[in-house]
């Protein structure tokens, strides 16, 4: 068998951590190769080294049997390598066409030859059934289409090796299926694909071969048909793991949060939330499923007091929170795990102990007359770090240096330490590895079992399905469906999430 990519003994160090430790990986030409591992296992670093973003400290790279020196992404593009990053590298205000040709423009007498280029791209798109609207601005497109633009961008640069970093992280089930169709098509046409992921069902569904990384090393490599999700998961984590969340039946009590006729019109006059009604009772987890950008962010911001709804009421234990400043909302008995931990949840330049009191810093226990009580802050940190297994176990570690999973644990620890009646958890395990996810899920369920009401908002359907006791679907600012239990197929949810099924108005009145 011929190899498209051979990485031999790649080692890459960052300061004191070894991101890739003598990694050897061979990818057969014309195959789909999955590269899996937990966050921080070194998958992305390895691929970004191949793509020329990093230089390895040692090791060799061979492309189609020829040893190459890749010093920059330009070099790797020249070698026919394309990469679709987890966060798209597109210019939102430019059109699709402009984005595709950016940096590789065809010119005629120093002017762009758009007509000719446009023809070429259309031909290329047709060949791989990648339909994209060439003249629309990227900012007006959904993420699924933006991703196709990224793929087309790589193909336009004559890539025959395509690296995709967590490509389904932002997609709906339907979009993911569509993407996999495209990937199969690309494979048919002889392209080689490396898929970085930590979703095991995807590995099983699409890949020919899978390599598992842990702590910078390749710990296993198998042909996909010969392995199982359980085996892969254990290799990733290094110990037996529970892929299914274990939880008992919900012991539902009185409603804690009741939202009625909630609407929100943003500053531009766009109606983001339309007459939303639902409630969450103590002892239950209500999951909200939906494609990102359908009003989830604003719904959470309304509940937590970060923005003021246009109309409607949000009552927490009978108290209407609308119009309360954030601090008073918290004091009314709410905890909030924000969707974007770096933007809202953490001060990354602060130490862990300073982050662990954000929002709780006005509490008496942390303050004496003039100054803050440093011993109390330190003690609080030590207790929470231990309880939530935050690593490193150093209250003075700077939050920026923690892995995504540990940063998230800091936030979860802080918010659960409020001991609030209602927990609003937005994307609680986004970018968190299997081990961390397992831990966070268990923490959330144990809060539920203590009688807390949990509102879970997640773009990860597996998470919504496995944690929730009831599931609401949000589409275009409306709750289009509330399922009384979690026994529903992903594909069925997907239909509601994309507005194919469900009439908003009827459902939200129901």
């Amino acid at each position: 068998m011929k190899y498209a990519i051979e990485l031999v003994g790649i080692t890459k160090r960052f300061a004191r951590t070894v991101a890739n430790d003598n990694v050897t990986l061979s990818v057969s030409a014309g195959s789909i190769h999955a590269l899996v591992g937990e966050n921080g296992a070194g998958k992305t670093t390895l691929m970004e080294t191949l793509y020329g973003i990093y230089q390895p400290d040692s090791g060799k790279i061979r492309i189609h049997d020829t040893e190459v020196a890749i010093k920059s992404p330009q070099d790797s593009i020249r070698q026919g390598i394309g990469m679709v990053h987890q966060h798209f590298m597109l210019v939102p205000t430019l059109s699709v066409l402009e984005n595709i040709i950016l940096g590789a423009e065809d010119t005629r007498n120093a002017f762009l030859d758009l007509a000719k280029t446009s023809e070429r791209i259309t031909a290329l798109a047709d060949k791989f059934s990648l339909s994209v609207p060439l003249n629309e601005k990227v900012q007006d497109l959904g993420v699924g289409i933006q991703q196709r633009v990224e793929i087309l961008k790589a193909l336009y640069r004559k890539a025959d090796i395509l690296i995709l970093d967590e490509p389904t992280a932002v997609l709906t089930p339907q979009e993911s299926t569509r993407l996999f169709g495209i990937l199969s098509e690309l494979k048919q046409q002889g392209k080689t694909i490396v898929l970085i992921t930590h979703k095991l069902n995807e590995v099983m569904e699409i890949s020919d071969r899978v390599s598992v990384m842990r702590k910078g090393k390749i710990v296993g490599e198998m042909d996909t048909p010969t392995t199982s999700p359980q085996e892969i998961a254990e290799l990733m984590v290094g110990r037996p793991v529970l892929l299914r969340v274990e939880k008992s039946k919900a012991n539902t009590g009185k409603p804690v949060l009741s939202i009625s006729n909630l609407s929100y019109v943003d500053r531009r006059g766009v109606e983001i939330l339309k007459n939303v009604n639902f409630s969450v009772a103590s002892g239950e987890i209500l999951g909200i499923a939906g494609v990102e950008g359908n009003g989830q962010t604003q719904l959470v911001e309304c509940i937590t007091g970060l923005v003021k709804p246009t109309s409607g009421t949000i009552s927490l234990n009978g108290v209407n929170l609308v119009g309360f400043p954030v601090k008073r909302v918290f004091d009314s008995g709410l905890a909030h795990v924000p969707e974007d931990r770096l933007k809202r949840g953490l001060v990354v330049d602060f130490t862990v102990k300073e982050n662990l009191i954000l929002g709780l810093h006005t509490r008496q226990e942390f303050n004496s007359r003039l100054s803050m009580r440093r011993s109390a802050i330190e003690q609080n940190a030590r207790m929470l770090i231990k309880k939530y297994d935050v690593r490193p176990d150093d209250p003075d570690a700077i939050a920026r240096g923690l892995s995504g999973g540990n940063q998230q644990k800091v936030i979860i620890a802080r918010e659960l330490s409020r001991n609030a009646q209602l927990i609003v958890a937005s994307q609680p395990t986004r970018g968190v590895d299997i081990g961390g996810t397992e831990f966070i899920h268990r923490s959330i369920i144990s809060e539920r079992d203590k009688g807390k009401a949990v509102l879970l908002i997640s773009a990860d359907l597996t998470e919504v399905l496995s944690l929730s006791d009831r599931i609401a679907v949000i589409y275009d600012g409306m709750i289009v469906k509330i399922f009384p239990d979690n026994k529903v197929e992903e594909s069925e949810l997907g239909l509601f999430m994309t507005g194919t099924k469900g009439n908003g108005r009827e459902a939200s009145l129901a």
């Binding site: 954000l358 006005t362 100054s371």
Partner: protein, 361 residues
């Protein structure tokens, strides 16, 4: 992480080491310029250091120049901690110093233990108001504080210059009448004869107290915690129930008040009146001082000492080299410090890495 770290890896040593390295290197580059104008750099530097640090008079002059730089540096630093760039220290110190002089000239007969705090307070209030305005505009309208503080500098300068030359001036001068004698802050030479002739006075103690206050406030108090959250991540502050607008206003007001204290040195400790043009860009030097001091109050003191030395040293070596050379030297220090942070830190870390690697092998 029980692993033992190389000493250079600690941010504290880096924060100290990097600026010091930058200063040393800038002196080396300055030597080239001295050589270009045909002087011997070693001789010039010898005179520079011996005349500023070598005798009490020189030290007195140096400290006299340092005091206002500490106030201005603290002013910029505390705003920076809240994520604001205060270019307005110059205007704030003009208003503050003028307020001190104004109150001082109308309060004759008040005992010193009331008069001195009163005049200090006048400076705080004057500067504070001038900091509050751009802070309020930033918080309520989003108007950028850089533009507004620059504009308010012009307004402040024009205002005090008008009042100091037309309304409250001693006829045929550009200064106000003297403040009440009880409002005077004693000079060093009253107690230590070695400082004879130098205007250095005990307002430098106020500057040091101010630095301790700023450190304690930022590092130890709850409002200081909130201010830092706002400066590092306003979205997270919002999330944590912190009133961002109030913190922006507060930090600019405190910043203005700190700059307003400059009058203690000049008005209360030196001339005993306000004079048009008394500050030659002290507020702007404050930016460099804060930068070199890494926005740390004690770093600010050290940086102010360096710039104070350069300012007075410039006068000392005036006969040997053109006075522009001192400006060049100051500028080089600033440029080195600004660009050093990244470059030197990286070099240091690399150096340390190769060392630990070779130790491990």
């Amino acid at each position: 992480m029980a692993e033992k770290r190389h000493w250079l890896e600690h941010s504290i040593t880096q924060n100290f080491f990097v600026p010091v390295l930058a200063v040393v290197l800038s002196f080396a580059v300055g030597a080239i310029f001295i050589a270009i104008v045909g002087q011997n750099p070693i001789e010039v530097y010898y005179v520079l250091f011996s005349q500023t640090l070598g005798n009490e008079y020189g030290i007195g002059q140096l400290l006299f120049k340092t005091t206002p730089l500490i106030f201005a540096g603290l002013s910029v630093a505390i705003c920076f901690k809240a994520g604001l760039f205060n270019i307005g220290a110059e205007g704030q110190l003009q208003i503050g110093a003028f307020a001190t002089a104004l109150v001082g000239m109308y309060t004759f007969g008040v005992p010193a233990f009331i008069e001195i705090p009163l005049l200090v307070l006048a400076g705080i209030v004057g500067g504070g108001i001038w900091g509050f305005i751009p802070g309020y505009l930033k918080a309520k309208t989003g108007a950028h504080e850089v533009i507004n503080t620059i504009m308010l500098n012009f307004v402040a300068l024009a205002l005090v210059s008008y009042f100091a030359t037309n309304i409250y001036n001693v006829p045929a001068t550009v200064h106000t009448p003297s403040i009440a004698p009880t409002g005077r802050i004693p000079r060093f030479d009253v107690f230590f004869s070695g400082f004879e002739g130098s205007p250095v006075n005990f307002s430098i103690l106020i500057a040091i107290v101010a630095a301790i206050f700023v450190w304690y406030y930022i590092d130890r108090t709850r409002p200081g915690y909130e201010l830092r959250v706002v400066g590092l991540n306003a979205k997270a502050a919002e999330f944590g129930g912190i009133n961002v607008a109030r913190n922006l206003i507060l930090s600019m007001t405190i910043g203005g008040a700190l700059a307003g204290l400059v009058g203690t040195n000049y008005v209360m400790g030196y001339k005993y009146y306000f004079e048009e043009g008394f500050s030659t860009g002290t507020g702007f030097m404050g930016i460099a001082v804060a930068l070199l001091g890494n926005n740390n109050p004690f770093g600010v003191i050290l940086a102010a000492l360096l710039f104070g030395m350069l300012e007075y040293g410039g006068l000392v070596i005036n006969t040997m080299v053109p006075k522009e050379l001192v400006s060049i030297l100051q500028a080089i220090v600033i440029i080195f410090v600004i660009s050093s942070n990244k470059i030197f830190r990286k070099t240091l870390v690399n150096y340390m890495k190769t060392r630990t690697l070779s130790v491990n092998q």
